[in-house]
């Protein structure tokens, strides 16, 4: 049997502060070149969007019957990515899981920026974006109101609640750490952190109210995260379309969201730990646990694929069966099999403890999962639309440069924001890492954890 991954219990509180604060020191040219590259791509994407607003949605490949394609795929993909952040920061907090302490801030930051990216796509998808507020109830002269029986209205409420609550939870966690950064900084940075720390000093009064509110926000975020992707799945499941109309969509989408989100955490953290020199804080132990979550959720996703296919066969509904036949063996069949390879087969490698702690292999697997989960959403959304009830209604979809560049711009927007954050604010929670170290040392004394 392979040796247990190494758990680092050596750092003192001071070492933790120094390691995390060192990351926040002024960055070099390569960093700013990367930021410049990301935001140049964002600018190009924005220019294509501006052109789309001016010329209309005809510049996209959206044609009857495929009126939802890459934009909505991106929306679902990014909402899904967001989910692992809340899983790690809130759900694992309630379970008192100690390995989360070093990774939760990065995961939660990913959540905020992923939801901010996801939120762009319903807007980009609107032909007349300046009427986006029609989804919200507001007093108007025609007494016209949104239909609260529509899943699109549920979605507007769910995603905006998710963004707000995650941002509050993330901000609360940051306050004590920013106060630490304030003490170590000088010049304009000290003024910047002084304002953001809001006068936090770690008094007993502050901790007493803070701890209670943090626990309650975690308690509120836990059902919220499960509800948000369920609501996103109902955008599809509430429709009558074959390939969408399924009762398993909510748990299936939630499992897929956590699966893709944890894979994205791994994709971001492996290069980040090397670039920022935080190998002592983010150890093999953390990645081993993240890989186990990926493996578990991959098995749930595989089970969902099998259940979905079984129910289609068992239902005896010829229209549903034809949709699935086209999904497997139609012109877009290779996309489906690529998805199965990436989401069901490649993650099985993580049964090997050696691969779970081999960070190069783990990173490559996480990239495959990102691709596979994007494809899954595309296959479900566009793939089901193109094969409608009547063969006379069938059509196809061809992607255009506008959709590709807006998608590239959105990925750059996410990476640029995440990279900016990782240099200016603490990417690892010093407070929680200190609490985790205290717990681990106690556990080691009690021989509950074997340190290698």
């Amino acid at each position: 049997m392979a040796a247990a991954p190494k758990i680092n219990t050596e750092p003192t509180f001071r070492d933790i502060d120094r390691s995390v604060l060192r990351v926040m020191e002024p960055a070099g040219l390569a960093y700013w070149a990367w930021i410049g590259f990301c935001f140049t791509l964002v600018g190009i994407g924005a220019a294509f969007w501006a052109h789309q607003i001016y010329a209309g949605l005809g510049v996209t490949g959206l044609r009857q019957p495929v009126m939802w394609a890459i934009y909505i795929t991106n929306f679902v993909f990014w909402v899904g990515i967001a989910h692992s952040g809340t899983l790690i920061s809130a759900i694992l907090f309630l379970f008192r899981t100690k390995w989360r302490t070093a990774v939760y801030r990065a995961a939660e930051t990913m959540t905020i920026f992923a939801v901010a990216t996801a939120g762009l796509f319903p807007l980009i998808h609107l032909g007349r974006v300046w009427f986006f507020y029609w989804l919200l109830p507001y007093p108007n002269e025609r007494y016209l109101q949104p239909d609260f029986r529509s899943p699109l209205v549920w979605d507007a409420f769910a995603v905006s609640t998710y963004l707000t609550t995650s941002a509050l939870f993330w901000t609360m966690g940051l306050i004590p750490d920013i106060a630490n950064a304030r003490e170590a900084a000088s010049g304009w940075r000290r003024k910047f952190y002084t304002v953001l720390a809001m006068g936090w000093q770690g008094t007993d009064r502050q901790w007493r109210h803070y701890s209670m509110a943090y626990l309650l926000l975690a308690g509120l975020a836990t059902p919220l995260v499960l509800s948000v992707h369920s609501v996103v799945s109902w955008d599809f499941a509430m429709a009558q379309l074959p390939g969408w109309h399924s009762t398993i969509f909510a748990p299936y989408f939630v499992a897929g969201a956590i699966f893709s989100g944890v894979a994205m955490v791994v994709t971001l953290l492996i290069p980040m730990r090397r670039m920022l020199g935080i190998q002592d804080l983010l150890t093999e132990w953390h990645f081993d646990n993240l890989a186990k979550v990926i493996l578990l959720t991959s098995l749930v996703v595989t089970y969902s694929y099998v259940t979905e296919s079984f129910m289609t066969w068992y239902s005896g509904d010829p229209i549903e069966q034809m949709t699935f036949h086209m999904r497997y063996f139609g012109p877009w069949g290779p996309l489906f099999w690529m998805m199965v390879l990436c989401n069901c087969l490649i993650p099985l490698l993580l049964f090997s403890p050696r691969i779970r702690v081999n960070l190069v292999a783990l990173w490559i697997i996480s990239i495959f999962i990102n691709i596979g989960m994007w494809l899954e959403r595309f296959v479900i959304i566009a793939g089901s639309l193109r094969v409608n009830f009547e063969p006379s209604q069938w059509g196809t979809y061809h992607v255009t440069i506008t959709e590709i560049m807006i998608t590239v711009g959105a990925f750059a927007w996410f990476l640029g924001l995440f990279s900016l954050f990782s240099r200016f604010l603490p990417i690892i929670s010093m407070t929680e890492l200190k609490e985790g170290i205290v717990w681990l040392r106690k556990a080691l004394k009690m021989d509950r954890v074997k340190a290698a």
């Binding site: 609260f148 409420f157 609640t161 901000t171 009064r205 901790w207 509110a213 059902p223 609490e435």
Partner: protein, 169 residues
């Protein structure tokens, strides 16, 4: 009015909690603590009631549900849309809106209540605050007058304080 602040620093929360217990036995009530992490030991030693944040969050959550009901029912009656012959007030989907608003207002009230109760944002630095209390030391600041100072200093040292400093307030 206390004229002196005695600032003691401790290497861990167990010693700090022990010192707080000693202060409470000696009936010295005018003190506050600083710590780099939240500590249940310190919280129990101080013995204050649980934070009222939980009631504020509960009130926020309930007001979210009521707001959700008001919006959904109110707008349904304002815009009487017959969707597939369903009853006008087909309420099951409204649960989703009520749930989302419960979380939203519960979360916002939790966050704002911490700001209010913890008295932040503030530009005021508490007497005796030291940057190391955010890093790796646990601190107790006792406000007392000249006569009590010596007794409290020796009490802190006996409890395991690494450093005891007397500051004028």
């Amino acid at each position: 009015m206390s004229a002196i602040a005695i600032v003691s620093s401790f290497a861990d929360d167990a010693e700090c909690a022990h010192a707080i217990e000693q202060l409470r036995v000696a009936q010295v009530g005018d003190f506050n603590t600083f710590s780099p992490i939240p500590s249940h030991r310190i919280e129990h030693a101080i013995g204050k009631k649980k934070s009222p944040v939980r009631w504020i969050v509960l009130a926020g959550g309930i007001s979210g549900i009521l707001t959700g009901l008001a919006i959904t029912i109110g707008t349904t009656y304002e815009w009487r849309l017959n969707a597939g012959g369903k009853p006008l007030l087909s309420w099951p989907p409204f649960i989703i809106i009520c749930f989302e608003l419960m979380v939203l207002l519960g979360g916002i009230s939790g966050f704002t209540s911490v700001l209010a109760l913890a008295r932040i944002p503030t530009a005021e630095i508490a007497p005796g605050y030291n940057g190391r209390f955010g890093e790796d030391r646990f601190g107790i600041v006792v406000h007392c007058d000249e006569e009590q100072a010596e007794r409290i200093e020796s009490m802190m040292k006996e409890a395991g304080a690494e450093e005891v400093v007397r500051e004028g307030v």
